[in-house]
Symmetry: C2
Amino acid sequence: MNLDNLFKPKSMAVVGISKKNPLSPGRIIFVKNVFEMDVKVYGIHPEGGEVDGVSLYTRLDELPEIPNLLVIAISAEDTLDYVQACADLSIPACIIIGGGFAEIGSEGVKRQEKLVQIANDNAIAVLGPNCIGVYSPPLLDTIFMPTERITRPPKGTVALISQSGGVLVDQFFHKFNEINIGVSTAVSIGNRAVVDETMLLEYFSKYDKGTSNIAFYLEGFKSSRKFLELARESNDTIITYFGGLSEQGKRATKSHTASLSGNDKVLSAALKQNLIIQPRTELEMLTYLKLFDVLSHKKKPFDYNKIVNGNVAILSISGGHGVICADLLKVYNLSSVEYTEEEKQDMHQLVNPVARNIASFNNPIDLTGSAKDEDIENIIQYLSKIERIECIILLILPYTPSISFQIGRKIANRVTTDKKPLVCFIPYIQKYGLIIESLELSNIPVFHSIEEAVQAVSALKMLTRIYNIKQKK
Amino acid sequence: MNLDNLFKPKSMAVVGISKKNPLSPGRIIFVKNVFEMDVKVYGIHPEGGEVDGVSLYTRLDELPEIPNLLVIAISAEDTLDYVQACADLSIPACIIIGGGFAEIGSEGVKRQEKLVQIANDNAIAVLGPNCIGVYSPPLLDTIFMPTERITRPPKGTVALISQSGGVLVDQFFHKFNEINIGVSTAVSIGNRAVVDETMLLEYFSKYDKGTSNIAFYLEGFKSSRKFLELARESNDTIITYFGGLSEQGKRATKSHTASLSGNDKVLSAALKQNLIIQPRTELEMLTYLKLFDVLSHKKKPFDYNKIVNGNVAILSISGGHGVICADLLKVYNLSSVEYTEEEKQDMHQLVNPVARNIASFNNPIDLTGSAKDEDIENIIQYLSKIERIECIILLILPYTPSISFQIGRKIANRVTTDKKPLVCFIPYIQKYGLIIESLELSNIPVFHSIEEAVQAVSALKMLTRIYNIKQKK
């Protein structure tokens, strides 16, 4: 099976285009790909004719060419005939949108078994059933939620593979757009009857140059051995988020995708041992992906493989933010460095006279609301020289009158010059977009809650661990 | 001391207005209140003259009236003279913005002791020092962050009291705006030398009719006994979030507001016993406040004092969302009801034929991406009749083509008719604002992550517990 046919087809055909119902999945997929995407598309309808001004063919064997991919969006009863047609016509890949297979019980299980047999006998790369397919920009998009209803994320380095279509579009597409994480390809695997997470890990890890980070939402492995082996050998960063590990969740996944998740402690240990990062919450997942996508840029503001112990310096202009951040360090297995009296005196001299007398130079450093841009620059420069600091967490509130709108650019230049790893918290408010942008243009990781900033540093520590293990080999 | 002078002054004076520096706190506070707020404002400058076209008085005793409040935004050294002037002129309240008191060590501690003595001897309600003061719309706003830099939240039922000014404006004002939580009054207490959290709890609980919910960010109690007693007797809902409970956090608070936080387990037990809700994270804090602000409206869509055990029905149109939600129930001490075979059959009949055959009617119910508006309405109506369900968590993704933009209004009408407690998750995307608004106009609690929706149900359970204890008295 050649998965390029799923993700990089030159041509594709769609069956299941309703003439009556413009909201039917097949019709949405067909019209969207004709109007919005680059792939060559053929629509099949037994009666021929047209929808939305686009002509349809009556049969697959009438097409002017054998397409690389067939999208099947019809009832389960009729689906197998079309898979058989793929075999007969040597169409090498298909995506089955509809449900009605293993997830509905015995009758569906039998249907799925037949499907697997046809696919394996004929080397057809079948995605699904019970899935929403593939988003592979700018080529194709088989996700039947209309593009205007759920805006697709920008192009980037993350390959997304999800066992749930809803999670893919909502927890990933929507959030990726909001915080500007880019996607190389997104895949909904549904019942993963044929193409499964292991085949996709292999494909994106070995054969897709646009991908540097591979993220999974799974509710259990189909089979874990080869997956873990591939992950350990991969040059990409692999992240898997598991739903359905709780007792309640397990019961839920069983009815939803007909899969079983195992013992969560054994699972977590196996993931860690095989250099797979496992976020515990959705928020952690997004934080990690944001960080990894940023760090995949060619220009790197600092070397991020040196956070061995997680020794952090917190620099804030709000005492309360420093306290909340300090509280979170232990939760994320990080620790805060201590300053010598001499260092404290040095820093005292580096800030403006008003702030100096009310600031605090313990860790967290609180420069107070009287801090100016240059105070922050000076302290970053000073901290950058202290070797036992592995990473700075900078907490910036742009509300105080003496912080200028140049602060982002100034920090970016400082960090890029001094090369000390730094993660920045800035509240996400549209009018401060300019500050956020100046940092992101220099690939400084920026987050919009204190907790995310701390999570990002813990992710840097995980990356360092993985890097060091891989170096030793 | 009459705290009305701090929050409802008819007139106020400001000292510390720089003529040279338009960004000085005193000048920002003065001009903002003259131009934007309702209170009558007098500016004091030893040389008189004017700033931004507004005339200044040279001395406090030259003012045409004795103001109710003096805002002092000058250096620590000169502050006490002005507090003494308040005593001499019978000005009953003052707000001290500047630092340089107990938080800077021995010299400052002495200064603060003198301050306390003058205040107590003359019954002056002193707020601060080392604070950003009061936001009491539409009357006054002494927060020196310019209004255009940090937009103030809408008017509502939550009184906010924070030991950190930065936390007040960023974690509260900013987020309150984002998710539409309303504030009655916001207070930054800084070093709380005189006016402290206990006095404020008493004031807002007993004397402020606009407040139904009182929220604190504290890094330790000044003295807890009376606070706890007042909280237990209050008719308002009291929420306290504590920063600085970790070892790292404790060290941080010590230098920042000169307060000590105690043992966190003892603290949590005392809070619970005295009917105070303690969020564990910032996110929980905001979820609770959003919920409590919504439920403080006169029109209530359902009776929220009946969530005794936390028995939940999850209704989703995405299987993965159902799984993630189910996983979270145990984390938040909730449990999911089970359906009988008969109930499953009933529900099966209530949804459209396409969805019916691929939907799952366990808990979580997954109506799939083929669900239509009326399927959701029908199932809510059916679940509302099942007595052992205490609350429904509804997970709505408006991306699928068959969900209409009327869905919010339809759900709102259904819930308001059937009266079953329901909490809704809808992703926060501007183009779905209409759906969110139709729900919020009927006071249905809406959240924008699955975890927040689950947190909200756990908060309903806490409210029921508190309600039942208060009923027994």
